[in-house]
Symmetry: C2
Amino acid sequence: MPPTAAPPARATAVRHLSVPATTRLLGDWHAGGPAYVALADALRAALLAGTLPALTRLPSERDLARGLGVSRTTTSAAYARLREHGFAASQVGSGTVTVLPRTPVRTRTPAAGDAPVPDRRLAGPVDHETIDMSQATPSATRALHGAYSRALETLPAYLDGGGYAHLGIDPLRAAIADRYTRRGLPTDPDQVLVTTGAQQAISLLAATVGRRGEHAVVESPTYFHAVDALQRAGSRVVGVPPGDVDALDSAVRRTRARLVYLVPDVHNPTGSTLDLDQRRQVAAVAARHDVTVVGDETLTDLDLDGSGAPAPFALDGADPRLVTVGSASKSFWGGLRVGWVRADAQLVGRLAQVRQAQDIATPVLEQLAVVELLGGREQILPERRDALRARRDELVDLVRRRFASWEVPSPSGGMCLWVSLRRPVATALAAAAVGEGLRIAPGPRFTPDGSHRDRIRLTYTAPPETYPEVLDRLERAWLRVTS
Amino acid sequence: MPPTAAPPARATAVRHLSVPATTRLLGDWHAGGPAYVALADALRAALLAGTLPALTRLPSERDLARGLGVSRTTTSAAYARLREHGFAASQVGSGTVTVLPRTPVRTRTPAAGDAPVPDRRLAGPVDHETIDMSQATPSATRALHGAYSRALETLPAYLDGGGYAHLGIDPLRAAIADRYTRRGLPTDPDQVLVTTGAQQAISLLAATVGRRGEHAVVESPTYFHAVDALQRAGSRVVGVPPGDVDALDSAVRRTRARLVYLVPDVHNPTGSTLDLDQRRQVAAVAARHDVTVVGDETLTDLDLDGSGAPAPFALDGADPRLVTVGSASKSFWGGLRVGWVRADAQLVGRLAQVRQAQDIATPVLEQLAVVELLGGREQILPERRDALRARRDELVDLVRRRFASWEVPSPSGGMCLWVSLRRPVATALAAAAVGEGLRIAPGPRFTPDGSHRDRIRLTYTAPPETYPEVLDRLERAWLRVTS
């Protein structure tokens, strides 16, 4: 019997966004310029940032106008502008639905030999000229190609097997353990689980240690994909200021949290690093409340000023509650997708069970390449840090000179500036920037509660040749927001 | 302040197994031979199969003896035997806890050039001689190394970017779409999401389309990692016999299931393929109950007798409820970790959002290698099928001759025999086989409800030279169980 006609499957039905949810999402969207442009830009920015998913049904023009206290002409014109730019579609009887544009776009100023941008649909900005200062994704180390070539020479030894290394291949687990041991944290290969990037490590910890309906504590601001992973695993996420161990202690006690996630070294996005005393206090919090504390050391290698982490996050490794996450993404290349967890062997075994339901294992060749890269890190990393340091200094200088009213701290490491606008207009600025062909990340994106509305994150992974143009666009957006 | 001493963290606490749970787990464990050996072997087999997790606290010797109706001497000797073989540890005051042995082991008869077995801890069998007939993991195609080499030539075009392709790189999405289109299922690259293996595809669908607390329907028996993924996402999984579309229709109606997971081509483990009429009936079920039906085509390329799938699972693609999962793992190599979902573009976008919280993206080089392999599939796959066909025929012949009382169907494709023992002793046989240095998978492992106790799955991915020894060990185990 043939399939019968039916309404669209539930699997593909669009979601509805209520007026209050839209209002929350937009925040302080209108900080200057024509209201309909600001509204359209704010919706577009939310869509590009991923806070407003594609295929969401927006409120009706009338309801949204009422909710925002603007005229229906404004909402109508804003929706029309969204449709014009390919970010919305309207159907009779089903309202206005968000979409992502289908035209090929580039996330950088085009250069000879540029790759087709892989993720243009999700990350896709407006046009061919858009510059992306929102992604903390450095290009690959020059050593990468050679590492893959040597890995390919080692690969044949693995081809007779099924290729499933649930815990990671032995040479990589040994290399990672050796690196911790050399840093003063004695580590056995049995304490290492290789994952498909640090994101999988965080996601596995969220699913295994976290509990649905219970609390997890993070720094606010923090790495926003960690918040996403925790929330998808059912945790209720609360934030405390980075470096404030008293607030951490209090939040863990108050919420009886199962899990804490911190970025102890060159914190994303603030760039701060916990000192030794703070680390010991964090360990005391873990012990006092019997809570697992995850330290994400993804950025540890990008300490640009040589101040360095005072100790590994897990200190001497005596307390199994201190769990470390690491990654090859920022040190070498994100396209590798190799990360890891350092924990006691019991937790490693439990995480490995859960990971089999997620993706079975990490590709063998990628792991072999990371063995090569870890072996060459003393040669590779100084060059990488030199390049990032030069970009950081140049961008800090340019932003400070152009925007005297902003506060622009120079971070001691990492890949981004955490800029204070001294006015709570970050969301509006990011929206206006999209209109100028520039993507920046507004502060609220890095928080579980929508705070930090006066901050933007500017990454310096893009080539410095683009910075003067970045500054021009940023200034035009700023004028639109503040005039 | 320094960390204070404290009891082991919650994150690493062992789980307790109750007596009823142990009894259920063991099933018909005692089918012959000394009781303590059978009991120890059954626990060891459950541990190796993953149904009994490592670091589980077993019931006390006395409680288990009472629960099983055996003497305490039996349980005591069984636990001692487990400890001797490195599968349990005892601590004063904390009972007997399962562990996995730490000694290096091999899952195959050693051969020159054999790789160190990557996943020895989780899959680890008893000793250096153990032969694994439980894993459906073929070795790599000979074309793999060349594919990686050519992929490495293409890679530089991607190294300037961040390397995060949330949906997959464009050339791979296009190659996958093209393959579907050539099979008669018109497909746009926008309808393809590249995943880290088919397992991630299933896991994403479970998390996105499935609903916590609601039902999912699978075939029983089926691919057990799919059941695991569905259950971890909170679905209540019920099984229907493969090929019985009336039972499927009834189960979906009765449970109001959100999601159905099927293996339409060379089903794992039975080897059956849905005919065209059954496929149309499945499509009608999807439409009638507005339920998403996932067809896992991971094994489609391993149709050994050339009978072939009568149509793509999604037929002409008119109904977005019919979603297809595919993979490079069985066609080329599991160590690649590249799979995909074919769905409508809206669902692809939703899955891509969820996947970012799981692992951000699939490695770029792996994807480039699969582009090469898909391009060469007409040359690669016939050789692969020839090798598997020869192994299948040899194993079927050997098993039929040795075990006249068994029913040994020859599957038209895939990598395994689904053997009926004609007695419900599969679990005991698998346990006894472990003692003989052979790993086989008992039928209940492939079901959500512990049924099919008369079946074992024997894979023929191991080299045929090992089969005579496999048969000897299997016969010794059978004698222990039945005498």
